[in-house]
């Protein structure tokens, strides 16, 4: 009997490995090896054309932090990325939380489902499609100017959505916000739906107003969801590429929206400076790690909520 149990365990172990090894090999080749390789390449002067690769120490890091990299310094890219991230993910979290709370107030599931479907629709479009729609709506004679003039009670003013460097940054944020708002609303709805109804019933019995209930009950109980959603939104914003690239290809200037990923692409692929681009990749990786760490620290105290 004991012998049989032993052999079953052996068999189990064998099949467990057989099932998991393919994925492990995949991640070793396409995740671990490249990140180590990036670290290594960032210490060389590797270029795409000559294929030479000499060890140069931290020269690339010194270069990307001190030189202007042909008019597009990394410091500007970090600025552009951080402004975009903060300007997109904070409004997105607040708005999607409010919208999700309001949706939960609807009495009929049918209506809620309809709204969710309609809010989510932009998220199924690809980023380049989203950007191309908005590029036309941001035209000097386009819809957005017409609406802005109507709202601001001005006439024929061009707000330079795609020209002025501040407006261009706001435009990229708006496009991103539009595309992903429905997605984050649904994440919050899932979080809200997991709060047991009995808690609300108890609050109502105790005479708590809706406003009071939201601040004192819903929001604290929703903290884990909020933490998770904001980390996701933030990481996604830090990696943005398609929207900015599309607007640049459409004729907008690169400098204000030259996010880190775009700079990596231009430096590494268009200009063939693989060593410098790798150094930028490592910087991006470290920024994302740092931000995740800060977020986790800020929200840690709320992790132990239990219903």
């Amino acid at each position: 009997m004991a012998k049989k149990g032993y052999s079953i365990e052996r068999k189990q172990a064998k099949w467990g490995l057989v099932f998991t090894i393919p994925c492990l090999i995949f991640f070793a080749v396409f995740s671990f090896y490249p990140i180590i390789n990036a670290l290594f390449t960032s210490l060389t002067n590797r270029r795409a054309i000559s294929r030479t690769s000499d060890f140069v120490g931290f020269e690339n890091y010194v270069y990307i932090f001190t030189k202007d990299n042909g008019g597009f310094p990394l410091s500007n890219s970090i600025r552009a990325t951080l402004i975009f991230t903060v300007g997109t993910f904070i409004p997105m979290i607040i708005a999607s939380l409010i919208i999700a709370t309001f949706l939960m107030q609807l009495r009929k599931d049918k209506y809620r489902g309809f709204f969710q479907l309609m809010y989510y629709t932009p998220a199924v479009l690809s980023s380049v499609v989203a950007a191309s729609i908005w590029m036309i709506m941001f035209d000097p004679r386009g819809l957005v100017n017409q609406l802005s003039n109507f709202v601001m009670r001005t006439s024929g003013v061009d707000y330079n959505w795609l020209v002025d460097s501040t407006m261009l940054q706001i435009s990229t944020m708006m496009i991103y916000f539009w595309k992903y708002i429905g997605y984050f609303v649904i994440l919050f709805i899932t979080g809200l739906a997991s709060i047991p109804n009995t808690i609300y019933e108890a609050a109502t019995v105790d005479g708590s107003s809706r406003w009071h209930t939201f601040w004192k009950i819903t929001l604290p109980l929703l903290k884990p969801t909020t933490a998770m959603v904001s980390i996701m939104a933030m990481l996604q914003c830090l990696k943005t590429f398609s929207t900015q690239y599309m607007l640049y290809q459409g004729g907008s200037s690169r400098f204000p929206i030259d996010v880190i990923t775009m700079n990596i692409y231009f430096t590494g692929i268009r200009n063939g400076r693989l060593g410098r681009a790798s150094a930028m990749s490592i910087v991006l990786f470290l920024i994302m790690l740092l931000f995740t760490y800060i977020q986790l620290r800020l929200t840690r105290s709320s992790e132990d909520v239990e219903y």
Binding site: A13, W15, S31, A38, F102, V128, S132, G142, L235, F285
Partner: protein, 291 residues
């Protein structure tokens, strides 16, 4: 009592107003894309904008109802690549969703239902790759792929996205709750281990499999950065690249640009409106990360 009811209905009205305002915000640009794809540039940029494509633009000698769509497909050259690029996107997105389903379910099953040495280590290793953003490893990945002579090939487009750590995680979480009794019963009945996987585990994981497949499809359909690196010949480009290039060349032909965007979105629209519950559920499964 009456006063109470009145107060509630004001809140209700406010809620509806806000929800409808958000609805207009999300839907208007999509409606705009669809109607503008039938208009010419003059009508798209007319002030004020009219939401119904005007008849007079179709009836001239050089314009029909589908002029914009013809332009979107033909592009600027005599050798149109629209359908080829669309086909490429479909091949990559479909292949990657199937490989993701297969590899992630296999690995998730192994991690959830088998006890073996190093299991937790393997799980942690796979999870830690979620912290490595693709954007940070694309340059070395590009060097790997070009070293393997996979530039301008389907393999080069497909292989780096064959499975995702998130997919493995999702499958594992799902299968942890799957009753082991079924698996043991199948073993007693003499079913082989691969047989159990194929005939017990996979058929019972349909919802999570559908969600994973759709997520993977959508991610690849939307992917621009990686194809920009590895698909350099016109025939190997994908649809996001086609749209980018088209909008660069046809910047002043807004109607054709919208027709191009609309055509490229049709597969996703079909998928979304037929399988919307998996899309909406797909967003929700992220939440189980927190358990």
């Amino acid at each position: 009592m009456n006063k109470f009811v009145g107060k509630v209905s004001i809140v209700e009205v406010l809620i509806w107003v806000l929800l409808i305002a958000v609805l207009l915000f999300t839907v208007t640009p999509i409606v705009f894309m669809i109607v503008a794809s039938f208009m010419d540039a003059k009508q798209i940029l007319a002030m004020p904008f009219s939401w119904i494509p005007s008849r007079e633009y179709f009836t001239t000698a050089d314009r029909t109802f589908f002029t914009n769509f013809q332009k979107a497909i033909m592009g600027n050259n005599d050798n149109p690549t629209f359908f080829r690029n669309l086909f490429n996107s479909l091949v990559v997105a479909i292949t990657d969703s199937f490989t993701t389903i297969f590899l992630a379910s296999l690995c998730g099953y192994g991690l959830a239902k088998f006890k073996f040495k190093g299991r937790n280590l393997i799980f942690l290793a796979i999870m830690s790759t979620m912290m490595i953003p693709f954007e940070a490893i694309m340059i070395p990945l590009y060097m790997v792929v070009s070293g393997m002579k996979m530039i301008n090939t389907y393999r080069g487009l497909i292989i780096p996205f064959m499975v995702s750590a998130f997919g493995v995680f999702q499958m594992r979480q799902y299968l942890l709750t799957f009753p082991s009794e079924y698996i043991d019963a199948a073993r007693v009945d003499g079913l082989s281990e691969p047989g159990i996987y194929a005939r017990i585990v996979v058929p019972n994981s349909k919802p999570v499999i559908a969600t994973l497949g759709i997520l993977s499809f959508r991610n690849q359909w939307d992917n621009l950065l990686w194809p920009l690196l590895v698909a350099q010949s016109e025939t190997m480009k994908t649809i996001p690249q086609y749209i980018t290039k088209f909008s660069e060349e046809k910047m002043t032909d807004e109607g054709a640009m919208m027709a191009c965007a609309f055509l490229a979105s049709i597969p996703m629209f079909i998928l979304f409106f037929t399988l919307s519950r998996y899309f909406l559920g797909g967003a929700a499964v992220y939440d189980s990360r927190k358990g």
